[in-house]
Symmetry: C2
Subunit: 321 residues, 2 copies
């Protein structure tokens, strides 16, 4: 028998899972669509079917499921619920942990938000092994953050800590989906850099591959590709994004004094294009006592597996792994 | 024998101490000048003499000293040193804990910064009893903060966490003593509100008791007194100070999700004049999930004793008080 923890990453489009052993090997993998299901219970029924098929078809040693860890947008560790997640079709409060426990009665089921899961994954299987104070910043459609303090995820009073993406850069800045203005995630995220390019096309006369295109044809991935080919607007957009992110990370460092900050997600895949300006402007804005002390790092986990490894690590960390 | 922990608050002008029993009673009190001593070892020698005299003159039950807790600007819990404190005459790194231990060999000596000491004091003896996640903001000459997460002070990697006063409000804002621009403490502090009044005297034509006075004649205490007598510039200065503070506290809430924020120090004594605008603008800027959940409170400790109670609580908390 091989012990495995099931890691499930619920995303807006797909839900991905892996049965992960104590060394971080993904022995069984699978996925189902998330947004095909308007009803959570139908989604869950099909997910469980897929999981059971995958696990029973594993043809080497038998797998012993020791627990289920779930990462999801707005997942609350304390209540086991997903609350008003803007990118999911299930509205209101979804009682995720209780619902899973009906199918998996005798093993622990743990839920947290995707950024916290990423942080735990980095600590258990990635580059934060041995670190007690660090932060994971996920640069996706929005900006999420998982904060680890003295070896434990910082949840706060109600489990909602880590909303770094909703700290304010400019009090009269860009409108945010949260109803306020100037939030960090309106600048430093995949959608933020897209807004920056569209703004720069208006304010600058530089030539760009994006001139004359429809808004829908601009994406963070295309901005990255254009920047690597020398498109100046795209390069400037990365510089601007890194500046804003670096500034706000300096604030976060002042409050939390972490050993390292990890950048995760699609935008972090741009490598030096995003890391260099972020590092430069963060250092410029750091108090003297913090200068040249805080590491800015990419994830130590492979991009495809980071989310499910993080989710499974919710279980493995309880085993002292 | 009555067990007492000695709480020492090292300030720029005076150093105050109390022998505090487990119920928070200050049984013996004393003080010596801090800034009379350019040399730390001379300061310490005289402080120890004063302490020994005070304790031996206590004429009821004998006192048993169980430990010494020290709060000081830039006091570092991990290293036991005061590092480059701008308001103290001792330059460089002062090895405080080791020096005290030469005089008090067999009892624990613990040092932390004044804001962390205030936070521990509030938890052990004040209004944060039973709270696990809260923040103390000290509004003195600067702005300090002590952050408690899951029942423990947040120190971070190097013991420097909690520099909320040096998060940035405006990137092209007021010059700060730290060498940067726009730090929160240049707005929300005793010196910040003084700068605000002086600015407002220039930008507005409103009458004010401060018109025609020398800068040195403006102080946060006088601004408070003027505001209570209806001086509009002074009232507006409190409103502006509270707005900036409230805005930044909303950022801090987004990151830390605390149960409560305590306002401490001279400026907090202004009561509604500072609490009302701070609360209003904090609520305006909070994410929906945090609205009407975070208490904004005054300290539960008497103003004169808060610092020494906090310092002594560094010791008492180890006894599970």
């Amino acid at each position: 028998m091989v012990e495995v923890a099931l890691g499930i990453d619920i995303g807006g489009t797909n839900t991905v899972y892996s049965a992960v052993d104590r060394n971080g090997n993904c022995l069984v993998n699978g996925r189902i669509s998330t947004n095909d299901y308007i009803d959570f219970s139908m989604f869950l029924q099909n997910l469980v079917k897929s999981i059971n098929n995958s696990i029973s078809s594993f043809d080497q040693d038998k797998l012993e499921l020791i627990g289920i860890g779930i990462g999801a947008p707005n997942g609350n560790f304390f209540t086991g619920t997903i609350e008003y997640a803007p990118n999911l079709k299930w509205t209101g409060i979804i009682d995720v942990v209780s619902s899973f426990k009906k199918y998996f009665e005798n093993i622990p089921v743990v839920l947290t938000n995707d950024a916290n899961a990423a942080a735990i994954g980095e600590k258990v299987f990635g580059s934060a092994k041995g670190m007690k104070d660090f932060i994971v910043i996920t640069l996706g459609t929005g900006l999420g953050s998982g904060i680890v303090v003295d070896g434990k995820v910082l949840y706060g009073k109600d489990g909602f800590a880590g909303e770094v993406g909703h700290t304010i850069v400019y009090y009269d800045g860009r409108e945010c989906g949260c109803g306020r203005k100037g939030c960090l995630e309106t600048y430093a995220s995949a959608s933020g850099i897209k807004r920056t390019v569209i703004e720069m096309l208006e304010t600058s006369n530089l030539p760009s591959v994006f001139r004359g295109l429809n808004e829908n044809e601009v994406s963070s991935k295309k901005i990255f590709e254009a920047a690597t080919k020398g498109d100046q607007i795209s390069i400037d957009a990365f510089e601007f994004t890194g500046k804003i992110l670096g500034w706000k990370l300096a604030d976060v460092v002042a409050i939390l004094n972490p050993e390292a900050i990890f950048l995760y997600g699609g935008l972090a895949q741009a490598g030096d294009l995003i890391f260099n300006p972020t590092k430069k402007h963060m250092e410029d804005q750091l108090l003297k006592i913090f200068k040249n002390k805080v590491k800015l790092l990419p994830s130590g986990l492979s991009c495809e597996q980071a989310a499910v490894l993080g989710a499974s690590a919710l279980i493995w960390k309880e085993r002292g792994i």
